[in-house]
């Protein structure tokens, strides 16, 4: 199968859907040549550096019958627009009694690992999970990204795509033919018998590497990527834990009140899943510190293969 990059997968999905639906608009602070050449500068618009204005403009476009893709670049800039995200995008469908649809795809990068220091290395999707009305997707591969984008671009709700900053140039197999990945459907990236490892975003790769290493010791990991956090495929996680009896959740976001905490809470509150547990679930998360600049400090602050291996050994002990 052909291989394309994560970002090329995004462009393909947007191009396909923009061809299909002329009532679509793209907003970003930078010109995107490939889109402007095909769809023109009226629909592919460059915005001022004013996040609240264009995050909000997408809501007004949606309320007027247009679908909008907004590329905020880094999630740290999303904080500038929290009024529009939380007070409006999240609530507007509900607050107006479902009168109108708000089809918007917001994109932003997350994660550490590029020495970008504290402000530009944020992983804030747990905050958005806490705002009912938003859907949250977390594509970890070019294949997942394209399939999830195709679904997002036909969904009638505000969807936020959090894309790990280290994945942009990663290549992967993406079929030529059209396909869709439904929201709320986890992907079992590796089947195993001893420990369920639920890994998010770039941590999927770290978990797969840990699985490889532990396999040599006879420990078998089942690696699950939920792919979307809202909605979350609880059933797939419960089923896996019922099979393995052990759960480790790996997320680069800070540990406190994170997605990992929610996943552990869901699993342990489900009676059948709880009954199947042979040991206490563990979280391997980003430390509760702002991401530091210097590489040794930065590496220390986020999870990696070694930390996952340590956590797995602990739940196996």
């Amino acid at each position: 199968m052909r291989e394309i990059t994560y970002e090329q997968a995004a462009m393909e999905a947007i191009q396909e859907e923009f061809r299909r639906d002329p009532r679509t608009v793209h907003l970003a602070t930078d010109p995107i040549a490939v889109l402007q050449e095909e769809f023109g500068t009226e629909r592919i618009r460059v915005t001022p550096i004013a996040e609240n204005s264009f995050v909000g403009a997408a809501i007004g476009l949606a309320g007027s019958g247009f679908r909008t893709v907004v590329n905020l670049r880094m999630a740290t800039f999303g904080f500038v627009a929290m009024d529009q995200f939380i007070n409006h995008a999240a609530k507007i469908t509900y607050m107006f009694g479902g009168q109108a649809r708000f089809p918007i795809l917001y994109r932003m990068t997350v994660g550490a690992g590029i020495s970008a220091a504290a402000e530009h290395s944020v992983t804030p999707y747990p905050m958005y999970m806490n705002a009912p009305g938003l859907k949250v997707i977390l594509p970890a591969t070019p294949y997942d990204l394209k399939g999830l984008f195709k679904t997002a671009l036909r969904d009638d709700n505000p969807v936020i795509s959090f894309e790990h900053v280290a994945l942009g140039d990663v290549r992967g197999e993406v079929p030529e033919e059209e396909y869709f990945i439904p929201f709320g459907r986890a992907r079992v990236r590796r089947e195993g018998a001893d420990v369920t490892v639920v890994a998010l975003a770039k941590m999927v790769d770290e978990a797969l590497a840990a699985a490889e290493e532990l396999a040599a010791e006879g420990i078998s990991l089942e690696v699950i990527d939920p792919r979307t956090l809202v909605p979350l495929d609880r059933a797939a996680i419960f089923e896996s834990v019922k099979k393995t009896g052990r759960l480790v959740v790996v997320d680069e976001a800070c540990q406190t009140c994170g997605a990992a905490a929610e996943i552990v809470a869901l699993a342990t509150s489900d009676p059948a899943t709880f009954a199947a547990l042979k040991s206490a679930p563990a979280r391997v998360c980003g430390l509760d510190v702002p991401i530091p600049f210097s590489p040794p400090l930065e590496r220390y602050a986020v999870p990696d293969k070694a930390k996952i291996v340590t956590a797995v050994r602990a739940v196996m002990a």
Binding site: R23, V25, E42, R43, R45, T47, P48, A50, N52, S53, F54, V55, G56, A57, A58, I59, G60, L61, A62, G63, S64, G65, F66, T68, D83, Q84, N87, H88, I92, T93, Y94, M95, F96, G97, G98, Q99, A100, R101, F102, P132, G133, K135, D155, D156, N157
Partner: protein
Amino acid sequence: MALDRQTQIDLYTTMLTIRRFEERVAAEFYAGHIFGFIHSYIGQEAIAAGVCGHLTKDDRIVSHHRGHGHCLAKGADMKRMMAEILGKKTGYCKGKGGSMHIADFSIGMLGADGIVGAGLPIATGAALAARLEGSGNLAAVFFGDGACQEGEFHEALNLAAIWKLPLLFVCENNHYGVNTPASYSLAAGEITRMPEAYHIPNKAIHGNDVEAVYEAAGEAVALLRRGEGPYFLECKTYRWHKHYLSDALDDLRPREELESWTKRCPVGSYQARLLREQVLTREECAGIDEQILARVEEAYRYGLESPYPEPEEALEDVYSG
């Protein structure tokens, strides 16, 4: 500009409709029949009536927390508004929005927004949609002097200006953010200095004179329909009630200032003019009033007799589809 008789009667009727609606809402609130926050539009009726008098249902508006007047002027159903204010299932938002969040997308009323200044960015999107549709439609956004203190106001003015959007900014300058005077909060002094900085054509007018509003809005709307937007209209006015109706909130504004504005009542002064100029007789005025009061009564009854939503309906409409 001499207005034809029917336009004059329409403007008067719209203003009086808003007045009678708001009077009833206030009376029921103080009687304990309405809960939550009610931001009364009384005193500012000329602005909604004068601006919306030029808009079609294909033009879109975005309103704010003090939004009942904009809904009525844009043609919203009074019964569904009252039901929403009463928290009933038959309300515009099925009881999920209340007074501060009434919307009717079918008539281009994109919703009242309770966060000061937040409607402006949303309206830039509605204006961009109008431009992409290419049918000469436009968007109008209502906001107060308080919103002019928010960053989103400046972002929206800048965006509308660089994209030349068909967006009519309607600043309802009622001179206070809750109890804090705009003269204290706004370094620019005159509000129109701000659109001026963004090279947006603008005008400041007496917002209690409905014909002045109608005339200025008409000129602005004509520009926008020709693609020469945006435009900024500052309407100087005054709210008669406290920031929101409640027994607990003090009104710290000077009494004599309020009285000077109630003497310039937009509805009363226009009625006097229409009588003076023999556009309407006293009997005709009384007839219009009677009809409006009957509609308000019917709307309130409808709201009162409508059922509350079932509690589990709290789980519906979080997402579309």
